[in-house]
């Protein structure tokens, strides 16, 4: 399918100018860009906190910032990254942009609710930002009681309210996606003809809708206890602080699947397009997303192995935690098998996909260490856990996000970015990431606890390596900002299908018109039916 027109005269970006046309838009594509601005903003705030933390940790003594300040830094790093970047990024940016187009619809089911979800997200973010500016928060992003309800002297209540508000943004986005995927597929688009990104988005939305309300009520309980001294988590009146942990992790474990499932969906798309063939074992990959969503709700107790959980419930959570690893392994094997006899591209989006597969595999394998209670007792609450989840969140989700951003950038903006710079940035990010986080596995097994502002001197060398890696990683993240912005103005025009990929999004113009398609598509083909040859316009 070739395009005769590189950039159409009318598309969603020039359909109305001015602040009102953006702030009151109902177009899912514009809302996606509003979210892009929001998540990028919060990402750099969270990233700045990480930079300060790693600078402090380059020396054993607590000499850069005070311990109070350090505690606020790691708390806000976690809060910003988890609630304001990792959870919304791929669903609200890439999902919002792509779900209607991939499904052949004109928009999501509820466009006004979509816009409202962005305002709710920004409101929650600003509340939480206020909490930082007005003195900070030092409870950790996990808000464990009774420290958060009784002992902390920082702005717990505004931060808790900010997160509570933002939770509704996730819920509304999830509802929108579920209804859209169920009810608005184009004629001929059966469930099993959907691209795998939609399966992942659907599974993610199920978790969003079922899990987020629980964190909402839990964080409300913390705020209420702080203000009214209710006592749910206070042993002095018969409350149980560990009950908080159960309620908290009941959401926060599935939350990590909210963070990684969309990235897995992106990787499926990148691997299919990067090899120009269907993903191997499509059905298995699709169902593995659902399996992860379901099993993900059954394993929260693995965060409480040393927290006072009974021996037998610990063992049940342990065996279930091993089970939840299997669908992820199935995906990794299927992606790798897809590359066999593929026409394998080395372009930037695909590099990010391959990076994801490798780094997610390492992160996932280290999850097995944590599921084994005998080892978890030693490594939980140490840098081992930090390394594990950063391999998945940063080596996984962020690389998936960047890969998707690069892959769909020509569709979103109508422009191509500079491929050499992009490859350079990907390489810097990969190296910086591994240098930052691999030493932390070793540090963790040696016993360095998390959330430590100062540490014994024998841990220094590994910490210095980690901090060096962090500075490289930081530079790596800045580079795409520059060339992507530059391409908006000066990039080559992309045309409707620069990658020679198969998918409904590549059958409309770049950028797409406001209603996505000139005519509603009727789908008669499977998700990744590649012809013998395609036309590629990137080279």
């Amino acid at each position: 399918m070739s395009s005769t027109v590189l950039t159409p005269p009318h598309h969603y970006l020039n359909d109305g100018f001015g602040v009102k046309s953006w702030l009151l838009t109902r177009d899912h594509k514009r809302i996606a860009l509003l979210y892009l601005a929001g998540v990028t903003f919060f990402f750099f705030i969270g990233g700045a906190m990480a930079v300060l933390m790693r600078l402090e940790l380059a020396t054993p003594a607590g000499d850069l910032v005070s311990d109070e300040t350090y505690n606020k830094l790691f708390t806000m790093h976690g809060v910003m990254m988890v609630f304001f970047f990792l959870i919304p990024a791929i669903p609200a940016v890439l999902g919002n942009f792509l779900v209607p187009i991939m499904i052949g619809a004109k928009d999501l089911a509820f466009p006004k609710i979509n816009l409202a979800s962005w305002y709710i997200y920004m409101l929650g973010g600003l509340f939480t930002l206020y909490a930082i500016i007005a003195g900070g928060l030092d409870t950790g992003w996990t808000f464990y009681t009774p420290f958060s309800t009784v002992s902390s002297t920082t702005n717990v209540v505004p931060a808790a309210l900010g997160i509570f508000i933002t939770g509704f943004s996730s819920i509304l986005t999830g509802l929108n996606f579920i209804v859209t995927i169920h009810r608005m597929r184009a004629p001929g688009m059966t469930w099993f003809r959907m691209p795998l990104f939609l399966w992942s988005t659907y599974a993610t939305s199920l978790i969003n809708v079922l899990g987020t309300p629980v964190i909402a009520i839990t964080i409300l309980l913390v705020a209420a206890e702080r203000v009214f001294h209710f006592g749910f988590f206070d042993p002095r009146v018969g409350g149980d602080p560990v009950l908080f942990q159960h309620l908290f992790w009941f959401y926060s474990h599935p939350a990590v699947y909210i963070m990684v499932l969309p990235a897995m969906g992106v990787v499926s798309e990148l691997v299919a397009a990067g090899c120009r063939k269907p993903v191997f074992g499509y059905g298995f990959v699709a169902f593995s997303s659902l399996a992860i969503a379901v099993l993900g709700f059954l394993v929260w107790g693995h965060h409480l192995f040393v927290a006072g959980e009974s021996v037998y419930s610990a063992m049940i959570f342990s065996i279930l935690s091993f089970c939840v690893a299997i669908p992820s392994a199935v995906k990794v094997f299927n992606w790798t098998a897809t590359m066999y006899k593929g026409s394998v591209s080395w372009e930037t989006p695909m590099l990010y996909a391959y990076g994801f597969i490798g780094l997610f595999t390492i992160g996932g394998l280290t999850g097995l260490f944590l599921a084994a209670i005998g080892v978890d007792v030693h490594v939980t609450d140490t840098y081992f856990v930090i390394a594990h989840f950063h391999y998945i969140m940063v080596g996984g989700t962020i690389m998936g996000y960047l890969g998707g951003l690069h892959y769909w950038w020509p569709k979103i903006s109508g422009r191509l970015y500079n491929e050499s710079l992009a490859k350079l940035a990907a390489g810097i990010i990969f190296i910086g990431f591994n240098l930052t986080f691999f030493p932390q596995f070793i540090l963790g097994y040696m016993g360095m606890p998390r959330r430590y502002h100062a540490y014994p001197p024998e841990f220094q060398v590994l910490n210095v390596l980690s901090s060096a890696g962090a500075s490289i990683l930081g530079v790596g993240y800045l580079i795409p900002m520059i060339y992507l912005m530059w391409s908006l103005r000066y990039g080559r025009l992309a045309g409707s299908n620069p990658w020679g990929a198969v998918g409904l999004e590549w059958m409309t113009t770049s950028p797409p018109p406001t209603s996505n398609f000139a005519e509603t598509p009727i789908v008669t083909w499977d998700a990744y039916e590649y012809p013998a040859r395609v036309e590629s316009h990137v080279a």
């Binding site: 089970c323 590359m339 430590y452 590649y530």
Partner: protein, 331 residues
């Protein structure tokens, strides 16, 4: 060259490390397999013609089943192994040397049974199993000794216990591993493992205040507990002699084991469990006793043997008190 691996200083460390190395092996194998395949395929099938597409290789059920079942079996092996190590961690041997720990922001307070108190530093003998019974005065802390591979959250309002058997004399880091506020990273200390002779010497040089149990006995009298809890069964409260470790019949028909938690609860919230045949008239001592005083009272109650029992000799270090003391009953 900085150290890259923690010392093995307890009997459990070897077991944990063995499982760890197996996991490392599994992880390295699969990571290299996947990374290797990706690099190999990326090179072997690198797209040379910009318009070429891939070959649609149809899915193979046998392959899908294989790479689902085999990883599942491997994880089950890890599960069984990990659970068995954990089970051993969760079941201390019977003859442990018990030490009470109270964590508070931001220090560790240790109480040996013979009355020795330590702050942030704990002396133990090598080669004997040691059981830590810990509680927190404020927020959740965590007792973590990397060299022993031992860790447990220390909770307010509850007793938790961990056990270890040191195998090498030396000094080992103790860390608080549950974030607890401003000086969380300062809540560190050392476990000092000594040869048995040195330990005896150290122990006898110590506490002037007398054993925990005797301090508890004094408190028992000061707080007038002995007016209701008399050994002659004529008091308004149950007899405490020989109570510890026994099953207690409660008013509602159920039975409960008289362990440390039961005694603590009986002092702080006596109305929670009423012993069968008694009235709910015991006042609460919440706010009137500290965590350390509770531990002293518990040790005192433990030391009370039934009048009809033969006094059992508990191994005690020389110079310490015997276990056969009973305090005189005040009228």
């Amino acid at each position: 060259m900085p150290p890259l691996f923690p010392q093995q200083a307890s009997t459990m460390a070897e077991r944990v490390d063995a499982l760890y190395f197996f996991l490392v092996g599994v992880a390295v194998f699969f990571a290299l397999l996947i990374a290797g395949l990706i690099v190999f395929f990326a090179v072997r099938y690198h797209r040379r013609d910009p318009n070429a597409t891939g070959v649609n290789v149809h899915g193979l059920m046998a392959l899908e089943v294989a790479w689902t079942v085999i990883p599942f079996l491997i994880t089950m092996v890890i599960f069984v192994w990990g659970s068995s190590v954990y089970f051993a961690m969760a079941h201390p041997p019977d003859d442990t040397l018990n030490i009470y720990v109270v964590g508070k922001q931001w220090m560790w307070k240790f109480q040996h049974l013979d009355g020795q108190r330590e702050i942030n530093e704990l002396h133990v003998p090598v080669g004997r199993p040691v059981k830590i019974i810990a509680t927190s005065e404020d927020v959740i802390h965590d007792f973590f000794v990397p060299a022993f591979r031992v860790k447990a959250d220390v909770l307010p309002g509850r007793y938790v216990s961990v056990w270890f058997q040191p195998t090498k004399p030396g000094r080992y880091h103790l860390f608080c591993a549950e974030y607890c506020g401003t000086r969380h990273s300062g809540m560190i200390g050392e476990i000092v493992v000594m040869d048995p002779n040195e330990y005896e010497t150290w122990l006898s040089g110590g506490a002037a205040e007398g054993s925990l149990a005797s301090a508890g006995g004094k408190l028992f009298a000061d707080l007038a507990c002995n007016t209701c809890h008399r050994p002659d069964a004529q008091g308004r409260g149950p007899v405490l002699d020989g109570l510890f470790g026994r099953q207690v019949a409660l008013q509602d028909g159920s039975a409960v084991s008289a362990d440390e938690a039961y005694i603590r609860e009986s002092i702080l919230t006596p109305s929670a469990k009423i012993v069968a045949g008694f009235q709910p008239i015991m006042p609460t001592f919440q706010g009137l006793v500290s965590e350390e005083q509770l531990l002293e009272l518990i040790e005192y109650v433990k030391s009370l043997k039934s009048q009809t029992e033969q006094p059992t000799a508990r191994p005690v270090p020389p110079g310490g008190p015997t276990t056969n003391e009973t305090t005189p009953v005040k009228k």
